[in-house]
């Protein structure tokens, strides 16, 4: 259809149909459609989106309570325009909507962080990042070599202890606690969460790009901390790296003269 032509009549009807489904309080159903039949569509479409979103955010759902949660999803359904053709990305669309929305203090300050934290598990569960196994020595020395994090991972920091939030723990802005997490999908494809202290978080952030050896990263952390006993700090750091290898976060070390082996699928 060229821009000059009027919209076909059947499309005007389709637009009226979806406007009503998105926001039945603001937009009446199209003329000539019976209320009972229209309601089938109102219920099917909203409930489908509601269930797709709610299953990804069980903690946020329970913290806000049924009524408030339903209102939020309603607002999303009425005003947001989803771009993704994939049903599994509806939670991400909801997260983006919430991040862009001015809450005006109607919901807890921690909510967008909690939503992000809950979404990360889904995102890593189905992440398609692959790594060239030939580029990695699984038994490589994590201190002498350049450690490789499993490709499906995220290093996260939140101003709240998002992993503890629930019905019984709902921190106010005065109760902010900077919280660092490593979330990764292990060799058995299970998504795991590790809470990091600030030093480990800094160490992993230095290692993540794959350009520094464990030793170089540790030395930089020790220098930044101006640690009184560098030998103790280095030994501690080495233990952290080995623990994370056991947990499945490190695949090993890059074999020499390999760069940037992470490729999108």
């Amino acid at each position: 259809m060229s821009a000059q032509q009027p919209t076909p009549e059947f499309q005007d009807y389709q637009r009226a149909f979806t406007r009503h489904i998105r926001d039945p309080k603001q937009h009446p159903r199209p003329a000539g459609v019976t209320a009972r039949r229209m309601k089938v569509y109102n219920d099917l479409l909203f409930n489908n989106v509601f269930n797709l979103i709610s299953s990804c955010f069980p903690v946020a759902h329970s913290v806000l309570g049924k009524r408030k949660w339903r209102q939020l999803v309603r607002e999303f359904f009425a005003t947001h325009r989803c771009r993704s053709p994939y049903f599994r990305q509806v939670p991400e669309e909801f997260l983006q909507f919430m991040q862009q929305r001015d809450s005006g203090g109607r919901e807890p300050d921690f909510l967008i962080y909690l939503l992000h934290y809950e979404w990360v598990e889904l995102a890593l569960d189905i992440s398609t990042k692959e790594i060239d196994a030939n580029a990695i020595d699984p038994t490589g020395d994590l201190v002498a070599g350049r450690p490789v994090l499993t490709p499906s991972h995220m290093l996260l920091s939140y101003p709240y202890a998002v992993h503890r939030i629930g019905k019984r723990y709902q921190p106010t802005p005065a109760q902010q606690e900077q919280t660092y997490l490593l979330v990764f999908r292990d060799r058995e494809d299970t998504v795991r969460f590790v809470v990091l202290n600030p030093v480990s978080a800094r160490l992993l952030a230095l290692i993540e790009p794959g350009t520094l050896t464990g030793n170089q990263a540790l030395a930089q952390v020790v220098e930044e901390l101006q640690h009184p006993d560098p030998a103790v700090a280095l030994a501690g750091g080495q233990a952290i790296l080995e623990d994370l290898r056991k947990a499945g976060a490190f695949l090993g070390t890059f074999r020499p003269d390999r760069n940037s082996p992470i490729q999108p699928a």
Binding site: F10, Q14, T18, V33, R83, Y86, S152
Partner: protein
């Protein structure tokens, strides 16, 4: 490697069924079907299990998100990704719904296109565009619907037939949808089936639905197939011929062993209407 020719009875591949199907595919299941949108760009354990299953068994793709009747341009980026997916899994048949599921954004469920001549031209052109991008002929499914538009200029059957004719595509005949629509819109399902352009049919769906009231059935795919729909499948095979036929089950998914008898019932009906004991092969556009 598997034969890309499609035949027999199939089962909708849902995540819940993957462990049981990975342990062993019952012989009566000749193929699987998925919504490609649920498996494109899927990694992790789910992606691995999916690839392992489809390497051994033919896979039909039945789309959800293309919105053939939608008001905004077709998503060509999505269509090109879809083409790669269909090629990667050697999918012999791709079908979509004769409906729309979006306005300026996706709405993730199917809504009815008004049955007007203008809509026929519009949708047929979009099907042609889809076929050009995918470089294959597609089939479109007669969709279930609950509201009649006051703009309608023709019957559902006339609309479906006109679109298929003008788009030069195949018909994916959903027998349960014929039944659901015949109750919801008070027509004779056998008369509908007698009017279907039989030479265009390549694929058939069977499913259960939700009985909301005697004059309103909802196409949920959440229950066993009811007897009147089995009788309609029998009638379809008599009138139109035997085609690869899938059992859809998308909600209240029971253990695999409870679905296998329904797939077996499809297969035994097919045997009854085949001219000889040879399986009916429908060679589709896998390699075109």
């Amino acid at each position: 490697m598997h034969d890309s020719a499609l035949h027999g009875a199939g089962l909708g591949l849902r995540r819940e069924l993957i462990p049981a199907l990975t342990a062993g595919r019952p012989e009566v299941i000749s193929f699987y079907e998925v919504a490609p949108e649920n498996w494109m760009d899927m990694g992790g354990a789910k992606g691995k299990a999916f690839r392992a299953l489809t390497e051994r068994t033919p896979l039909v793709c039945h789309g959800l998100s293309l919105s053939l009747g939608g008001p905004t341009p077709l998503d060509e980026v999505f269509l090109r990704k879809l083409r790669s997916f269909l090629e990667a899994h050697r999918v012999p048949l791709y079908t979509e719904h004769l409906s729309y599921c979006s306005d300026d954004g996706h709405l993730y469920d199917l809504m009815p296109i008004p049955f007007t001549a203008e809509a026929v031209r519009y949708v047929a052109q979009r099907i042609r565009q889809t076929q050009e991008i995918l470089e294959r002929r597609i089939a479109v499914e007669n969709a279930s619907f609950y509201t009649k538009s006051p703009l309608d200029e023709m019957s559902e059957l006339e609309f479906v037939t006109a679109v298929i004719d003008e788009a030069d595509c195949w018909l994916h005949l959903d027998v349960n949808n014929v039944y659901v629509n015949s109750v919801n819109h008070r027509y004779d399902p056998r008369e509908f089936l007698r009017g279907v352009p039989a030479e265009r049919v390549v694929y058939i769906h069977m499913a259960g639905h939700y009985h909301e009231s005697d004059d309103l059935l909802v196409d949920t795919h959440g229950a066993a197939v009811i007897d009147p729909v089995w009788e309609l499948l029998d009638f379809t095979y008599q009138q139109i011929g035997v085609h690869p036929t899938l059992l859809e089950r998308d909600f209240n998914i029971p253990p695999l062993e409870n679905l296998v008898p329904e797939v077996a019932r499809i297969a035994s009906l097919q045997q009854r209407y085949l001219p000889d004991s040879a399986q009916n092969h429908v060679s589709t556009a896998a390699n075109s």
